[in-house]
């Protein structure tokens, strides 16, 4: 991956994440305000293609966006560079995608 690709990927995922984060936060507020229970929420999300896409995209974008940014920060503030850093960031991206993916399945998947 050249720096140009990483730069592009980070800007694109930022574009995707911005509205999703706002929608996600707005939803939390609305849900908390409406006093929905976990069971009521799950009843709405289970089996929903829309929610699956919403949170699937969210997790994927975050898993790409986060490690690229963290890699920049690490390169700026520590001497860590090169392959080991790239590998660590790939691993982090994979971890975020896996954990996030599990959460999406838990919310959207049929039990």
């Amino acid at each position: 991956m050249t720096p140009v690709w990483l730069f592009l990927a980070q800007r694109l995922t930022a574009l995707i994440l911005a509205p999703l984060v706002i929608a996600h936060l707005a939803m939390i507020l609305i849900v908390a305000d409406g006093g929905l229970t976990a069971a009521e929420i799950l009843a709405r999300t289970r089996g929903s293609v829309g929610w699956g896409l919403f949170y699937g995209t969210f997790v994927l974008a975050a898993a790409i966006h986060g490690p690229i940014g963290l890699r920049n920060v690490i390169q700026e503030h520590t001497p860590w560079r090169g392959r080991s850093l790239d590998a660590a960031m790939l691993l982090l991206g994979g971890l975020l995608a896996t954990l996030g993916g599990r959460a999406v399945v838990a919310v959207v998947g049929e039990p």
Partner: protein, 217 residues
């Protein structure tokens, strides 16, 4: 030391060397803002000392004069500019000719967009002030810095250059234009009014365009 009208910071340093500390090391040449060799940190900010009037920067009649930031100090107020010019080379900040002197001069329209973009950054005097003002240069030893990238941007826009793709590639490699935070400290401090941030943004844009096939001719 005696106070004079229109006294510059460089005058002060020179007075100190002549009258108080003969071993003081510092650098200057033209004294009129052309050569770019006299930059130092004055009251915490990088400045060209030959064109900086004491009356404008002294705080309560005090001046604190230090060497330029982000470059290794050689002695007293003189820093080693080698890393600065090495980065200049790493960014391929040098002209690649396509004609010999026997051939006629290339005709370049002064009002064409690329020429105007190049002209905006061409008057750099290599003083290193922006390099010293940039936090990212201080954090990341690989970062090419505003001066080298500004130079690269002028070459990317110079239609006479024989390797503009090479320049763009060098300037957008690791530690290149994509490491810039766009916070504009370089613009704020450049004594000749160059805007390296704009040039670096141009490099980012051009490198993205190149990626999707709409790049340099």
């Amino acid at each position: 030391m005696p106070q004079r009208a229109n006294q510059t910071v460089l005058d002060v340093v020179t007075w100190i060397q002549r009258h108080a500390e003969p071993a003081l090391a510092y650098r200057f040449a033209c004294r009129v803002g052309v050569c770019g060799s006299c930059a130092m940190t004055v009251n915490g900010r990088p400045r060209w000392t030959c064109r900086t009037h004491v009356s404008r920067v002294a705080r309560e009649r005090r001046l604190r004069i230090e060497p330029l930031r982000n470059l290794p100090r050689l002695k007293d107020l003189a820093v080693d500019m080698t890393p600065f010019f090495e980065k200049w080379q790493r960014a391929q900040g040098r002209f690649t000719p396509t004609r010999t002197r026997a051939e006629p001069m290339a005709a370049v329209r002064p009002d064409s967009a690329p020429r105007r973009a190049a002209d905006a950054g061409i008057e750099c005097i290599n003083c290193g002030v922006c390099h010293a003002a940039c936090d990212v240069v201080g954090w990341d030893p690989d970062y090419l810095g505003p001066a080298a990238l500004n130079r690269a941007w002028t070459l990317v826009n110079d239609v006479r250059d024989g390797d503009r793709h090479g320049v763009l590639k060098a300037a957008s490699a690791g530690g290149g234009c994509h490491s810039c935070h766009t916070h504009g400290s370089c613009v704020e401090h450049c004594p000749v009014g160059i805007n390296p941030t704009a040039g670096i943004a141009g490099l980012k844009r051009q490198s993205l365009l190149d990626l999707v096939g709409g790049g340099l001719p």
